[in-house]
């Protein structure tokens, strides 16, 4: 009798638990997700996709295709110690509680032209302070731009020099600039020294070693990049129709062998001679003759037929394939020339990707799907082209046209992380985040240049600011006339006179 009760109680309780469990499980599974997937499937059912974008594949896109798994592993382990650095863990935010100031160590000895431009830009910026105690970010005076051992600008013994810096403190709050890392034949990302907890601002950053929200990816710029006040974008007019003579253009070296050679070697398939002009030359290094292939002579002859600049300015899209490293000069050049960059550089963390939405500016291709590029480009609508082209000009003008802008953007990104961040909207709309001060207002609508974009009505009242340079001596003074006529306006809200006191 008792045994039966005992077993029935156990049975009943387990059945109850099972039912509850099952009920709960069913509730937690989202039914609509399934439906969504089905819809998508239906839509594309009749077409074969070229690539199945499974998770594995897309993660592969994030890899540098040309680095061997061994290299990838190595780069990971090299960086592993500080791999998990984030602003919260590796950055002393206490120093930046009220102001964001940057201290530059005094320069000893010779540094490269580019680096001196960077340092000068910092010194001239509003962030600069000469007092290390109030500084939030420290910039070493050691030139770490070129870490290619074969380069003549390579600075030896950077490691010990860095650690000897008076405020180094394990690299905390330090910002290190780098344009070139690694050397032939592997072009790894190893800088040759341990940056410890410093923030790395680096060109040709790979997604693998990039620490999101901490490191900053720089564009690759040349020695001749202007210090400040760089040239405007080359787009003079917004013609419509938007189509230029060439659809896609490229002119550059190909390497025949080694890392990064595959994509460029395959470009000739796309070249059609009338609207897709992809020119490559084998002339590269001293002994290219030895390793040249059958196409070299034909390619070299073709190469001479077109001028690079003319191509840039007469092409809708410009191909920006990777070189030996992931980034190339061509990126900035095409931006400036209002030629929409078509990026073929798998695994590249695009410059300032933290803030800039490159989808609005460029076409990101996949090296593995090179042959689809013409079709992709042809399916870009004219409206999109116009939008992309204009965005190139904005991005160029706002963030890349001079070294100063690049440096300022870098610092601005860091500052944004700490205090009063600018929104992505601000970063990606003219006039750009550098022209916006969030101290002034927190809302977009407070800034008149966003109103049209936001579709808001601008405030109908205005404040007249009248600058007076000479004493107002009479009512009939032109100034007075001006005031009178302005005041007649129904929209005038305030007047502000700026009077210059004369101490004659």
């Amino acid at each position: 009798m008792q045994a039966r009760t005992r077993y029935s109680v156990v049975l009943v309780s387990s059945v109850v638990l099972f039912l509850v469990y099952r009920q709960w499980l069913q509730g937690s599974v989202p039914g609509h997700g399934q439906n969504l997937n089905e819809n998508i499937k239906l839509q594309y059912d009749h077409l074969h996709t070229y690539v199945t974008w499974t998770e594995r594949d897309s993660s592969e896109y994030e890899y540098d295709l040309h680095a061997s798994p061994k290299q990838r592993r190595q780069s990971r382990t090299n960086l592993y110690k500080n791999r998990k650095c984030r602003m919260d863990t590796c950055f002393d935010q206490a120093k930046c509680s009220d102001t964001f100031k940057v201290y530059v160590y005094p320069v000893h000895g010779k540094i490269s032209e580019s680096y001196s431009k960077i340092l000068t830009s910092i010194r001239n910026s509003r962030y600069f302070t000469s007092n290390p105690d109030e500084a939030c970010v420290f910039v070493p005076s050691i030139d770490t731009l070129d870490r290619d051992i074969l380069s003549h600008e390579y600075v030896t013994d950077a490691q010990s020099k860095l650690t000897k810096l008076p405020y180094w403190n394990g690299g905390r709050n330090h910002l290190i600039f780098n344009l070139y890392s690694g050397t032939w034949p592997e072009y790894s990302e190893d800088l040759g020294f341990d940056i410890e907890q410093a923030i790395l601002a680096k060109a040709s950053f790979t997604k693998q070693s990039f620490r999101p929200g901490f490191d900053i990816s720089l564009p690759l710029f040349g020695k001749s990049h202007p210090q400040k006040g760089g040239p405007r974008g080359d787009l003079q007019t917004n013609n419509f129709p938007v189509i230029r003579k060439f659809l896609l253009a490229f002119k550059g070296k190909r390497y025949l062998s080694g890392i990064g050679s595959d994509t460029r070697n395959a470009l000739y398939h796309l070249h059609n001679g009338y609207d897709i002009i992809l020119l490559t030359t084998c002339r590269h290094g001293k002994d290219w003759q030895k390793i040249k292939d059958v196409r070299c002579d034909r390619d070299n002859a073709e190469y001479e037929k077109h001028d690079y600049q003319i191509l840039l300015h007469n092409s809708t899209f410009c191909l920006v394939p990777r070189g030996r490293r992931l980034g190339s000069f061509r990126f900035l050049e095409s931006l400036q020339a209002a030629c929409i960059p078509v990026i073929l550089s798998n695994g590249w963390e695009l410059p300032f990707s933290e803030v800039i939405d490159w989808k609005k500016t460029s076409i990101e291709g996949d090296e593995r799907l090179l042959l689809q590029i013409p079709s992709i480009l042809r399916s870009v609508s004219d409206e999109q082209i116009l939008s992309l082209r204009q965005q190139t000009q904005f991005v160029w003008d706002a963030y890349f046209s001079s070294v100063e802008k690049i440096v300022t953007t870098t610092l601005q990104i860091i500052q944004d992380r700490l205090q009063n961040p600018r929104s992505a909207f601000m970063w990606n709309h003219p006039p750009g985040a550098l022209a916006v001060f969030t101290d002034f207002a927190g809302s977009h609508s407070a800034f008149p240049f966003y109103t049209s974009v936001l579709g808001e009505e601008a405030c109908e009242k205005f404040t007249a600011v009248i600058s007076v340079s000479s004493p107002i001596l009479s009512q009939s003074a032109p100034v007075m006339k001006l005031i009178k006529s302005v005041s007649k306006s129904a929209y005038a809200a305030q007047y502000m006179y700026v009077l210059y006191a004369y101490t004659a």
């Binding site: 156990v10 398939h269 990101e364 013409p374």
Partner: protein
């Protein structure tokens, strides 16, 4: 009522039910725990799972960017021209890519071809490397071998003994030996001048010309004189220079009248007049050889100084053991006997168990008054004999009585006769105690039917007499085993011949037990005794030559001087220059197995004549009592004693090649060294050929690189010279082509002087043996040197239909008794025996049939050794196109071979062949060995 009760219980017990439940819970703590555990598990598992699942999704959500993809949505909106243009572009790209792919494919193919070429090159290089490595190994091995053999040559050159060299003694060397007190005291040590007989002097013998010796008025017996003269000219020891001679033979008898008219004194003085007597007659041998039973013991009581007496009659007082020689009578022909009269050894038991025919003193009355003609000495002896007369009679009576008893036995057949006409003889020369031989016609026929022949010895004062010698001779000749009553009797050449192996010698007192004793002797012993008797008779008694040779051999053996060398067959080269005219280096044979064959050594001969002085000492009894007897010295015999196996590591290592330097081994180590119990050696291949040039050339070519090969001798049986256009292969050893006197299969076994090794591999010109088979056969032969070691086996089978003999048989059988000499290892010793010792009738039969030489060799070897041959391996590759198993001439070939067996049976008196039921394979043959271990040979 019941319902009510229940209802009441239920309704009124709400409160108690809870209490009981609580109580129940308390009681069932474990159950509670179980439920709690279940709840906890059901709650926590989803939580944990959820946590991990959400974590796992994190990377996916944190994915940053994706490349632009080809969107296909606006394709529908496209204009046809545009669509066409885009398609065309895609086609163009595709064709461009295809082109590149084709180019790449072509390049890939090119590269693949290059890779193939290179890998082929690599493989070739590796092969070359392997080849040169193995060549290097071989060369290294060769260096080691050569170094070793060089050291050994140095050692040997000090030890080497050639054929004995003759060192001629000078006359000045003569040393005067004190003459003994009386000649009766003479023994070898005190009466023989050793200084004339150096060990290496070849035992020169001088025989006085019969003209020089005029000892008697009566001339010498004609047969004795001529036969001795003839025989002595052929004896290798005889010299005509007395100055170098070791012994001097003086033929003094028998005379035509058997010394009836001789005077001892005259004889004595005429002996002293011999030119080389030198006062004491040292080293003189007086030959008094009887052909007639009437021969008298003329030398009895005579002073012969130091001379050695050789005669058939010896008085007990006269005979000096170890000095004088009891000679048999010269009853046979001068130099030969009829082999076809060999008594058959079987059946062991003949019709009569024992036969005796004789008559005691038929002329006793005459004899007593017959002494007048004899010299005084003889008379003296007679008187002495007479004094024992009574004793003699009693013994004779006793024997006679016992034999009479035997005669009456019904169980066995006896032929015993005491009354018969005696042989014609001078009664004066016969002792009274002598049993005369009967003159009956059936005397020899009875002997042929007797198992044993009784010989009753004379009185004790006579140790040997002509009557006794004749009885012995006749019994042995006809296969009746002599049963000699009287142990005092000295049998001929008893110094070295072990008569107990051929005859039964009993004291006269055992006459009563004779029957019992004879009955205990088993058939195999009977056959052995009979065979040995036949051997003794043929070798030592059968002819004048045998007797004289034996006399000299006895003298020589006493002096430890080696016999004369058995001459080798002079080989006459077919080619005047020695080598064939046209020669071409043979291509290296494709190895037929993966075995490691050591590189060929430099040919070196087997050492020979190493035991010249031990044959006549250590092996003296063996030498004298087995075929072929002591007369010849062979360079080697297969019967040399074997060292214990530790000796080769401690002190006696000369020439030995232990496997793995003594550590043993298989595979390579085994192949590299011969091992075994005897020093390393090589073998000679003898190929008999007759006008089959092409076959011969391929056979020769196949021998290229065969290790341990010393030389190849091609016996050119054809009377025609070799065709000039034949290109002879040049192999690593010399090939000698030997011309023959006539086309004979016996030439295969001629002991050519070119054969420098003990081992001979006899090959047919069409035999195909693999190297590993040959090498293995050689190794087996080295352990069975006295046997034929060969590949194809045959046997002799009893003719069950006719029941009268053996037939040759080549069927598959699990018993074999012969191996074919078309592929067999044989000791060179047997080549000597076959060619010079084996009865000529056999060789003649071989020539007659052009067949059977292999059967003859098998008979010979089995006869000598009483062992069957050894068959090795399963004959993987031996094919024998000339063995007409399937040919039409089958019949005649086989009939000849049957007849050969029957004929040889007749010559030997029995079938010497023995059966064997095993075959020899190498130790690890068919043994499962681990993969990393090697076998001795891969296939044999």
């Amino acid at each position: 009522m019941d319902y009510q009760h229940r209802k009441g219980y239920n309704g009124g017990a709400a409160q108690p039910a809870r209490a009981t439940f609580l109580r129940w819970l308390q009681r069932n703590g474990i159950l509670m725990q179980l439920i709690m555990l279940l709840i906890v598990v059901m709650v926590f598992i989803p939580l944990v799972t959820h946590y991990y699942l959400s974590n796992a999704e994190l990377p996916a959500t944190s994915r940053r960017s994706q490349p632009q993809q080809l969107s296909l949505e606006n394709l529908q909106a496209m204009k046809p021209q545009e669509l066409k243009a885009r398609l065309e572009e895609l086609y163009r790209i595709r064709s461009s890519v295809q082109q590149e792919l084709l180019g790449l494919e072509a390049r890939r193919k090119d590269m693949q071809n290059q890779i193939d070429e290179y890998s082929a090159l690599i493989a070739q290089r590796q092969r070359e490397n392997k080849e040169s490595q193995s060549t290097l190994d071989k060369v290294n091995f060769e260096i080691v071998q050569k170094r070793k053999s060089y050291e050994e040559v140095i050692q040997r050159s000090m030890l080497h003994i050639g054929a004995p060299k003759q060192i001629l003694p000078q006359l000045d060397d003569n040393v005067d030996v004190e003459p003994p007190q009386a000649s009766a005291q003479c023994r070898q040590h005190n009466c023989f001048d050793y200084s004339r007989c150096s060990l290496t002097s070849h035992f020169p013998v001088y025989i006085y010309a019969s003209e020089d010796v005029t000892l008697s008025k009566q001339p010498l017996d004609a047969f004795v004189r001529t036969s001795v003269a003839n025989v002595m000219t052929t004896n290798p020891h005889v010299t005509f220079d007395p100055n170098i001679a070791c012994v001097y033979l003086v033929l003094i008898g028998d005379t035509a009248d058997h010394w009836q008219s001789a005077s001892s004194l005259e004889l004595e003085t005429s002996l002293r007049k011999l030119p080389l007597w030198k006062g004491d007659g040292r080293n003189h041998v007086l030959l008094n050889l009887a052909r007639n039973v009437s021969a008298t013991n003329v030398l009895y009581g005579m002073n012969t100084d130091r001379a050695i007496l050789v005669q058939s009659n010896f008085d007990a007082a006269q005979f000096r053991p170890g000095f004088d020689i009891v000679a048999p009578m010269l009853l046979g022909k001068e130099a030969s006997f009829d082999w076809k009269e060999t008594p058959p050894l079987v059946p062991a038991k003949r019709k009569y168990l024992l036969s005796f025919q004789g008559i005691l003193s038929p002329y006793a009355s005459k004899q007593s008054n017959h002494g007048h003609a004899n010299v005084e000495n003889v008379m003296m002896s007679r008187r002495l004999k007479d004094s024992n007369r009574t004793q003699v009679n009693s013994v004779s009576d006793f024997i006679q009585e016992e034999l009479h008893k035997l005669k009456s036995l019904q169980v066995d057949n006896f032929y015993i006769e005491f009354k018969c006409p005696p042989l014609n003889a001078d009664p004066a020369s016969v002792d009274l105690s002598e049993w005369w031989i009967c003159r009956t016609k059936d005397r020899l026929a009875i002997l042929k039917q007797s198992t044993y022949a009784l010989i009753i010895g004379p009185d004790e004062h006579i140790v040997s007499s002509t009557m006794l010698q004749m009885r012995l001779y006749e019994a042995l000749k006809h296969g009746a085993i002599p049963v000699i009553l009287g142990e005092h009797v000295e049998l001929p050449f008893g110094e070295f011949i072990q008569w107990r192996k051929a005859a039964i010698i009993l004291p006269k007192a055992r006459a009563s037990e004779l029957y019992f004793y004879l009955k205990t002797i088993q058939d195999n012993d009977i056959v052995k005794l009979r065979g040995q008797g036949w051997f003794v008779w043929t070798t030592y008694l059968s002819s004048a030559k045998a007797v004289l040779d034996t006399i000299l051999a006895t003298l020589r053996t006493r002096l430890n001087i080696p016999a004369s060398i058995m001459p080798a067959e002079q080989s006459v080269n077919l080619f005047p220059g020695g080598a064939p005219l046209k020669q071409k280096r043979a291509q290296g044979m494709m190895p037929e197995s993966d075995d490691f064959f050591p590189p060929p050594e430099i040919p070196f001969p087997s050492p020979k004549f190493l035991r010249n002085f031990t044959y006549s000492t250590i092996d003296r009894d063996v030498n004298w009592n087995t075929a072929p007897g002591p007369f010849k010295l062979f360079p080697n015999t297969p019967f040399d004693p074997v060292l214990p196996s530790d000796a080769k590591f401690i002190g006696s290592g000369l020439g030995f090649r232990p496997i793995g330097k003594g550590s043993g081994g298989t595979g390579k180590e085994f192949q590299e060294a011969l091992g075994g119990n005897i020093p390393g050696e090589q073998f000679t291949i003898i190929i008999l050929t007759y006008e089959r040039d092409a076959l011969l050339m391929t056979s020769l070519e196949r021998l290229m690189g065969l290790p341990y090969l010393n030389k190849v001798i091609v016996v050119w049986n054809s009377p025609k010279p070799a065709a000039a256009d034949i290109i002879w292969p040049e192999i690593h050893v010399p090939i000698k082509v030997v011309r023959t006197k006539k086309n004979s299969l016996n030439n295969r076994f001629l002991p050519y002087d070119e054969i420098e090794t003990e081992a001979i591999l006899s090959l047919d010109d069409d035999a195909h043996l693999r190297h590993d088979e040959i090498l293995f056969g050689f190794r087996v032969w080295r352990e069975n040197r006295d046997q034929i070691v060969g590949f194809p086996g045959r046997y002799h089978a009893w003719d069950v239909n006719l029941n009268n003999g053996f037939l040759y048989n080549s069927n598959y059988s699990c018993e074999l008794s012969m191996v074919l000499t078309g592929a067999a290892f044989i000791h060179k010793y047997y080549a000597y025996l076959y060619s010079y010792v084996m009865p000529q009738v056999i060789r003649d039969k071989v020539d007659e049939y052009m067949n059977c030489e292999d059967i003859a060799m098998n008979f010979l070897v089995s006869h000598i050794t009483r062992k069957p041959p050894v068959k090795v391996t399963s004959r993987w590759t031996f094919r024998c196109p000339s063995c007409p198993e399937a040919l039409s001439q089958d019949d005649s070939h086989f009939k000849e071979r049957h007849r050969c067996i029957q004929f040889f049976n007749q010559v030997y008196g029995y079938i010497p062949l023995l059966y064997t039921q095993f075959r020899v394979d190498s130790v690890l043959f068919k043994t499962r060995v681990p993969h990393d271990k090697q076998k001795c040979f891969k296939f044999v």
